[in-house]
């Protein structure tokens, strides 16, 4: 027998077959992720049922059966015994109060200017590719607060009224929420860094003071801090010195969140290897240049998620000011329930859904942004 008969040699390449249809595409994905075993299939069905049970009523309430237009409660009452969903007409009617509180209507442009300026300065600072970060930050952190302060409260030089005074008692809604959150956030970061450095200091007294400060504020709930700042601060000050209510709350919130910030920053400082400190000292840098140029940029970079988490926590905690009698967004919504012209069975549900949506957008946005920055700054050691 010849070789040719003993071996069969393939001269033409076999056709390339596609992968079995059960492992690719939608079906493959579903087999792998949803129906890989009996237990998994049961879980999938159970999960789908739960999801449907949650999503269906929500969509029905918020969209299908919702009332979008109307002048008063009769629009949202529906016919006899009819199940009515969210009363968005009420939210629309109250939108001005939810955003500005009882701020004088003719002066609303000032609040809008502040919102606009803030957005104008914040967005380029947050986008990594836009240049002139230094000037931008300086404008946002130094110039903007001064301008915003006079725009919001008013400006009177001598007897000439340039901008009429608007009392902070008239502020409310999203304006108060944002003022407290943004001031708290910007003031607590530098304070927090100071106390974190203090806690890591070699000087025993500085260290002790920092530890006591941090542990004290971290140990008490924010409500007691707010009560303290609204009840006790006037007692601490000399006779005749009055303190604005909003300012009192701001002091309390800032001190409270700076303690949390200090712990986050300390985590970052601890993660910097000792060699960095030694290297900086070997270069002849003094304490502050060493911190400013070498340590803090690295440490803060490490703890961006923690800082943003503290920001988110602070933003959510601003709702607590309604307990000491201020009208932030939630406080405004809560007080609108007292209005008989919009009282319907679904008013509370609608108001809370709206508040939840606004807070969710802000907080979720912040957390997404922190993930984005984390990826941007993740410069070395990426495998």
């Amino acid at each position: 027998m010849s070789d040719a008969q003993m071996f069969q040699i393939r001269t033409v390449e076999a056709p390339r077959l596609p992968a079995p249809s059960s492992t690719t595409g939608v079906i493959g994905w579903m087999r792998q992720n949803l129906f890989s075993s009996i237990g998994n299939t049961v879980l999938t069905i159970l999960g789908a049922l739960i999801a449907w049970a949650l999503i269906e009523p929500l969509i029905e309430f918020a969209l299908v059966k919702a009332v979008w237009t109307g002048d008063d409660r009769t629009a949202c009452l529906g016919a006899d015994g009819e199940h009515i969903g969210a009363c968005w007409a009420y939210v629309g009617d109250y939108m001005q109060q939810f955003i500005y509180g009882r701020y004088t209507t003719s002066e609303l442009w000032r609040v809008n200017t502040v919102y606009g300026l803030f957005a104008l300065l914040l967005v380029p600072l947050l986008a990594p590719s836009v240049p002139y970060k230094g000037i931008n930050a300086l404008l946002l952190l130094v110039a903007f607060p001064i301008v915003a302060y006079y725009l919001l409260t008013g400006l009177v030089i001598g007897d000439t009224v340039i901008l009429p005074i608007v009392e902070t008692a008239q502020w409310g809604g999203l304006l108060v929420t944002l003022v407290i959150a943004v001031t708290g956030i910007t003031a607590s970061l530098p304070l927090g860094i100071l106390f974190a450095l203090g806690r890591r200091s070699n000087m025993p007294i500085i260290k002790l003071i920092s530890v006591i400060f941090i542990e004290f504020w971290r140990g008490v709930p924010l409500i007691t801090v707010l009560f303290m700042s609204s009840v006790m601060l006037p007692l601490f000050l000399p006779d005749g010195v009055t303190f604005d209510k909003l300012l009192r709350v701001l002091v309390g919130v800032t001190l409270f969140s700076s303690a949390y910030m200090a712990e986050v920053v300390r985590g970052g400082l601890q993660a910097i290897p000792k060699g960095q400190y030694e290297g900086a000292m070997a270069l002849g840098l003094r304490f502050w240049p060493m911190m400013y140029l070498i340590i803090l940029p690295q440490a803060l970079k490490l703890v961006i998620p923690g800082i943003v988490n503290t920001f988110i926590g602070l933003f959510k905690d601003t709702t607590l000011v309604l307990i000491v009698g201020m009208f932030d967004l939630l406080g405004m919504i809560q007080s609108s329930f007292a209005d008989p012209s919009w009282a319907t069975p679904t008013q509370a549900h609608t108001g809370y859904l709206f508040a939840a949506f606004v807070f969710f957008v802000f907080c979720f946005g912040m957390s997404r942004y922190s993930i984005f920055v984390e990826k941007q700054l993740h410069t070395g050691h990426k495998r």
Partner: protein
């Protein structure tokens, strides 16, 4: 100083005092201390002056006075003729009650969702993800309001009810169910329970020692559980069952005003407590779920593979290899979540649940003694948090990896 420089050959001449780190440190610290002392002196003198000006008494003597206000929920005997001190104690106990119930449910739900987040099943893990993101990003106060003002307002009124298995009933007055009534003789059951818990501890210690010495295993968990459940049951039967359940009485007929649940029958959880516990545990569960997920993911895959290579079954791998290591990561943030929950329970004041802050607030409004009441609040919450961090440090030391 000159002799000093001469002694150490080659050492540079001593820098001036201005550049000596020690001297500078000392100087800064003195400045800070003096500044702080001045600051506190300013505050204290102002406060004393203001208190005198406003005629506010100081000191804790007011705690003895009659409070004169009632409460909707109390774990101890409390009436309007009790003292302010009692009122604050009632508040403290209610805070602890909410914290304990909340921590229990939050941990349970948090672990469940944390594990669900890691599930291979797409829909389950996405559901868990949505739960975490939604609940974490909405303020707790809003959630408390939602449960209290929106959800619990749409349940049946006083004269109607929703029932579960005809034992638990829900209406606007609260959640009612059967209450155990302990008759004389039931104290032996409590003694038996205490003895059983002690014996279970002893048993597990003995079992661990024996396993260390001989390698033989003993099902100490199940044996201990049997002891803790069994011994009081046996004692209960021996003493002639000195416990019975008292069911709430619901009047469906009779005068319209007397319909509904009869007061003092069965146990009742007031709606404020329900809303608070619901909101607190659902909110904290979202954070605990993230901690649990991170903890489990922190155990490197090599550990599981090594266990498989040793031929350990999957269930045992989870129990003996993954979970003990995950717990080391999970416990410290978990305790701080528990502490957060306890501190967040102070939001009860917003819906009128009589917790420490709410009761203290009433006392503050009646007596005007802000300094003292706020000092009591801060002292209570501070000692709770310091106790927790002391426990955390102890646990960390016990659990820390023993490295060379």
């Amino acid at each position: 100083m000159s002799s000093d420089t001469q002694d150490r050959a080659g050492a540079p001449a001593r820098a001036s005092l201005l550049n000596d780190p020690k001297a500078r440190g000392l100087f800064y610290q003195i400045v800070v201390v003096v500044g702080l002392a001045l600051f506190f002196w300013f505050i204290v003198s102002n406060t004393i002056h203001n208190l005198q000006r406003l005629n506010i008494a100081s000191g804790f003597g007011f705690l003895e006075n009659t409070a004169g206000f009632g409460t909707s929920q109390s774990l101890i005997n409390y009436s309007e003729s009790s003292s302010y001190g009692d009122a604050i104690l009632v508040g403290l106990l209610n805070t602890i009650l909410v914290a304990v119930i909340g921590i229990f449910f939050a941990t349970l739900l948090g672990f469940l969702i944390g594990v669900a987040r890691l599930s291979n099943n797409w829909i389950i893990s996405k559901l868990a993800y949505c739960y975490v993101e939604l609940l974490r990003n909405v303020p707790l106060l809003l959630q408390i309001f939602f449960w209290y003002f929106a959800v619990l307002r749409s349940i049946p009124g006083k004269r109607e009810k929703w029932s579960l298995f005809d034992t638990f009933h829900l209406n606007i007055v609260g959640l009612r169910g059967p209450a155990p009534i302990f008759e004389p003789g039931s104290q032996f059951m409590f003694y038996a329970l205490i003895v059983a818990i002690g014996a279970a501890f002893g048993l597990s210690r003995w079992a661990r020692k024996r396993q260390d010495a001989t390698g033989q295993q003993f099902p100490s968990f199940w044996a201990g559980l049997g002891l803790i459940i069994g011994l009081p049951t046996v004692v209960c039967l021996l003493t002639g069952v000195p416990v019975h359940l008292e069911y709430p009485v619901f009047n469906e007929t009779g005068p319209i005003l007397k319909r509904g649940f009869e007061l003092g029958t069965g146990f009742n959880l007031i709606p404020e407590l329900l809303a608070l516990v619901l909101a607190l545990s659902l909110y904290t569960a979202a954070f605990i779920a993230e901690i649990v997920r991170a903890g489990i993911q922190a155990v490197s895959h090599g550990q599981t593979e090594a266990a498989q290579a040793l031929g350990i079954r999957q269930g045992l791998t989870l129990r003996l290899v993954v979970i003990p290591q995950a717990m080391r990561v999970i416990i410290p943030p978990l305790t701080s979540q528990f502490l957060n929950l306890t501190k967040n329970s102070s939001l009860a004041v917003a819906i009128g649940f009589p917790d420490l802050v709410s009761m203290g607030g009433t006392v503050l409004n009646q007596t005007g003694q802000a300094l003292e009441v706020i000092a009591i609040w801060m002292a209570v919450y501070l000692s709770l948090s310091l106790l927790t961090s002391a426990f955390m440090n102890w646990y960390n030391q016990r659990m820390a990896l023993v490295e060379r």
